[in-house]
């Protein structure tokens, strides 16, 4: 290395530290220290007024016997396992339909994308309350065909389903990503497959699907992480209670209740850490399993 290029490296290094002042402060004050602090609080009893009191594993033992904790785990898992695959299936199906050189693509794409843009707002959650309520839109529709519907939100067996429908309704943003992915698949591959005698179905299963697996994987990771953290919709639909009968008690809503309604911040920190570990494990599993089904084109 010449002295001249070493000079530039040092100069770049010094400049980098100036450029990175905001990031380094943010990493320290907004991420790293709070992360460690909440790990510490997870092993304490803390109500914000009195100093934290070390209780060892008590918070984690409490979870084992906490029915609401298990209810929130169940609700969140059902939501993730049902709504994410359904949402991605809709996204992929519509992307495939729209990709076929259809006129009016821009119009359809915008129309399907609009719900994604609005879906996480309080306003849409309010709309959902009225659609699935006692005298809501759905029951008015059912009345037309002579079926008398009860409130979908008051019934513990259907309340979660309304939120699953809401998540599926926002399939537009993964659809846009799928559309971009489909455009990357070279025409020659389809031609080659056709020359080899592959029909439309085999072209789909042997060209489209394998080449789209990285995009499917990306969408799956993104939507799964997002679904684990659903809060706004559950809070508005149930008025912050997670009811009826804990049927919409999403995990993050339970963390909020413990931390910011009951001010049991030690327990809430323990719950939050369990969530983080769960998301990390699920994401790691996704990456491990992806070796067997995601195709990156060079193997």
């Amino acid at each position: 290395m010449t002295s001249r290029s070493r000079f530039y490296l040092n100069r770049q290094g010094r400049a980098a530290h100036v450029f990175l002042i905001p990031w380094q402060l943010g990493f320290l004050l907004i991420t790293a220290v709070p992360l460690l602090a909440s790990l510490y609080l997870a092993f304490t009893n803390y109500d914000i007024l009195n100093p934290p009191e070390w209780t060892g594993l008590e918070n984690f033992q409490r979870m084992i016997h906490d029915d609401q904790f298990w209810a929130s785990v169940r609700v969140t898992l059902i939501y993730v396992l049902v709504s994410v695959p359904l949402q991605l299936a809709f996204a992929l199906l519509l992307a495939l339909i729209l990709d076929r050189g259809l006129s009016g693509l821009a119009f359809y794409r915008s129309a399907f994308y609009l719900p994604s843009l609005l879906g996480s707002s309080v306003a849409i959650a309010i709309l959902w309350r009225e659609i699935f309520g006692d005298e809501g839109l759905i029951n008015k529709g059912l009345a037309l065909i002579g079926v008398h519907g009860e409130s979908w939100l008051q019934n513990p067996r259907t309340a979660l389903a309304t939120l699953i429908v809401l998540n599926v309704w926002t399939f537009g943003s993964p659809m846009v990503i799928f559309l971009a992915g489909l455009r990357q698949i070279p025409d020659e591959l389809y031609e080659a497959a056709r020359v080899d005698g592959a029909g439309v179905w085999r072209q789909f299963t042997h060209v489209t699907v394998p080449l789209l697996t990285p995009i499917i994987f990306f969408n799956l990771i993104l939507q799964t992480i997002g679904a684990f953290q659903t809060f706004t919709q559950a809070h508005i639909i149930s008025g912050g209670t997670g009811g009826p009968a804990n049927s919409t008690l999403f995990y993050t809503l339970y963390v909020y209740q413990q931390g910011f309604v009951a001010f049991d911040m030690g327990y809430a920190s323990a719950l939050a850490w369990v969530l983080m570990v769960a998301i990390a494990v699920v994401t790691a599993l996704h990456f491990l399993v992806s070796k067997y089904w995601v195709f990156y084109g060079d193997s």
């Binding site: 980098a16 994308y113 996480s120 707002s121 306003a123 439309v200 072209q203 508005i236």
Partner: protein, 292 residues
């Protein structure tokens, strides 16, 4: 099923009439589906203009009577008019945009272009923090900000934006800068510009598409954000629009449905305007972040 399969699938040429019939069927199906998807939104818009007592009795989308009463009542439903909440939301949103543009572009330039020892480590941390659930940080952050006496101010919402904690945008900008030809930087360096001048005069102007995408998504996410304002803002005069809507829900009565719809609709208007104006960037933004 055939017509549902992939884009550039080459099928044997069908007779023109058959092809046209297939296209008509497909458009009809798609339009019905669009109508079904959008119906709830249309119903919301129309209901906001119906007399409150008719909203739940008339599910149709052609009201027998139009009125602005819901907007008038809703505007003053809480102990402050909604104009206060809109101004609050706007202040928070604009400041968040400024914060993200400033801090994320500085960070991204350093990570993408400057050589320094911790570069790979820093980039890995940025990537990992995209997946970090906010809930694991929020309790200590709340304790920290409340001890500084900043509850019911906007600092807890804004300080993180000025410290490049929206790792997603850092990542987006890094990926964008990497597509810019390095020769431009080198030319500037040879002309004697240091890293700061190169960043300001060469890289930043070329980053415009990434900056626009960041602006749009920061706008939408901040405008819709509910969890953080819910925790920090407890006084009505400090409410942002989503928190104000939430407290309207809490005091909902039968006649309140109309007001709720009217105010909910108004809360979506800025996003709809953004959607109409910046659609091209929005779609491109999602598509490119999806593909790196």
């Amino acid at each position: 099923m055939v017509s549902l399969t992939a884009g550039k699938v080459i099928s044997s040429p069908a007779p023109a009439r058959q092809r046209r019939l297939r296209a008509v069927l497909k458009h009809t199906g798609l339009l019905v589906f669009v109508a079904f998807m959008i119906y709830p939104l249309v119903w919301m818009v129309v209901s906001a203009f119906k007399p409150p007592e008719k909203i739940l009795t008339e599910p149709g989308i052609i009201p027998s009577e139009w009125t602005f009463q819901n907007f008038k009542d809703g505007w003053h439903a809480l102990n402050r008019p909604f104009s206060v909440f809109f101004v609050n939301s706007l202040v928070v949103t604009i400041a968040s945009i400024v914060g993200n543009l400033f801090s994320c572009s500085l960070t991204a330039y350093a990570l993408a272009r400057l050589q320094f020892r911790m570069r790979k480590v820093y980039f890995a941390i940025t990537l990992a923090s995209v997946m970090l659930p906010f809930h694991v940080l929020v309790i200590p952050q709340y304790i920290f900000f409340s001890q500084l006496g900043l509850v019911n101010t906007y600092w807890p919402l804004l300080i993180p934006k000025f410290l490049a904690t929206d790792a997603f945008f850092v990542f987006l900008m890094v990926q964008f800068i990497r597509t810019l030809p390095r020769e431009l930087d080198r030319a500037a360096w040879i002309d004697g510009a240091g890293p700061f001048l190169t960043f300001w005069y060469v890289v930043l102007p070329l980053m415009r598409p990434a900056l626009v995408t960041t602006t749009i998504f920061t706008f939408i996410w901040t405008w819709n954000d509910f969890f953080v304002p819910l925790i920090y803002l407890t006084r009505t005069q400090a409410f942002t629009v989503p928190v104000a809507l939430n407290s309207m829900v809490d005091s909902e009565t039968q006649s309140g449905v109309g007001m709720l719809f009217a105010m909910s609709l108004l809360s979506l208007v800025p996003i709809l305007i953004f959607f109409a104006v910046a659609q091209k960037y929005l779609i491109r933004g999602i598509a490119t972040t999806g593909l790196k």
